[in-house]
């Protein structure tokens, strides 16, 4: 894969500032995601699991937790 053509003109933030911004944004959103889906999972687990929609919610929350964990690990890996 060739390196992308990243222009140094017309920047909103410096390159380093952008890296910090993406790192913090990713970490904060991922942590929020983990909290929200933990709450949703607990709520769904208390509901009637015979219903397909409830099982969908449980599966969705587990996927959300995995995505949140991936985001937290990714923000650690990509920290400047």
């Amino acid at each position: 894969m060739t390196a992308p053509n990243l222009s140094s003109e017309h920047l909103i933030l410096s390159h380093r500032g952008m890296q910090y911004f993406v790192t913090y944004l990713t970490g904060i959103v991922a942590a929020y995601w983990v909290v929200i889906d933990s709450v949703r999972l607990r709520r769904a687990l208390r509901s009637d699991r015979e219903q397909g929609a409830v099982r969908d919610q449980i599966f969705g929350s587990i996927v959300g937790l995995v995505i949140g964990a991936i985001g937290i690990i990714g923000s650690y890996l990509g920290s400047p």
């Binding site: 992308p4 969908d56 996927v63 690990i73």
Partner: protein, 176 residues
């Protein structure tokens, strides 16, 4: 029932306006502005649902249109990033193929139900939000391989789960 020509669908359609400037920004290396296009597209995705509730114009078509707009916009972002070699192509090909398969499954589900209906997948909603971030990670060259391959795996598991729900399990239209 509300008309399909309504403020919520207008907001959904306006998301396509972020695509041409995105291409221009990527072509010229304005990566931060390309990220801004993705953010605007994502924010409009959040707004259209709120507009539908405020103006009381929730329609089955709107739900399907919103899902289609997600697929087209985020798929387009990824495709452009691959074409300009900003992200590796193998995970993107996997993701786009799974996205097309997902749209096909939804069409099959609607035919099975005999009406325009969107299968509500809670897992796919998370994947769509992740896809928006994927575009952002791509334009900012942020841990691209890690995030893209992780997403391809999660998307494969989600599509397999949703395929079973849409094609095999009994129809539960009230949950859609």
């Amino acid at each position: 029932m509300a008309s399909n020509v309504n403020p919520a669908n207008a907001v959904t359609a306006s998301r396509f306006l972020t695509l041409p400037p995105f291409v221009w920004c990527v072509a010229n290396g304005w990566y931060q502005w390309a990220a801004a296009c993705i953010i605007v597209c994502g924010l409009l995705d959040l707004v259209d649902g709120a507009v539908a509730r405020i103006f009381d114009c929730i329609t089955p078509f709107g739900a399907v249109f919103d899902a289609l707009a997600d697929g087209i916009c985020y798929g387009f972002f990824l495709l452009i990033l691959v074409l300009y070699a900003w992200v590796p192509w193998p995970p993107v090909v996997v993701i786009l193929l799974l996205g097309v398969l997902n749209i096909g499954l939804r069409a099959k589900y609607a035919r099975r139900a005999g009406q325009t209906v969107n299968y509500r997948s809670f897992a796919m909603e998370r994947c769509v939000a992740y896809a928006a971030y994927l575009g952002g990670f791509g334009v900012t060259a942020y841990e691209v391989r890690y995030f893209y391959w992780a997403f391809a795996i999660i998307m494969a598991v989600t599509v397999a789960h949703d395929a079973k729900r849409m094609l095999v399990d009994p129809l539960e239209l009230e949950a859609a």
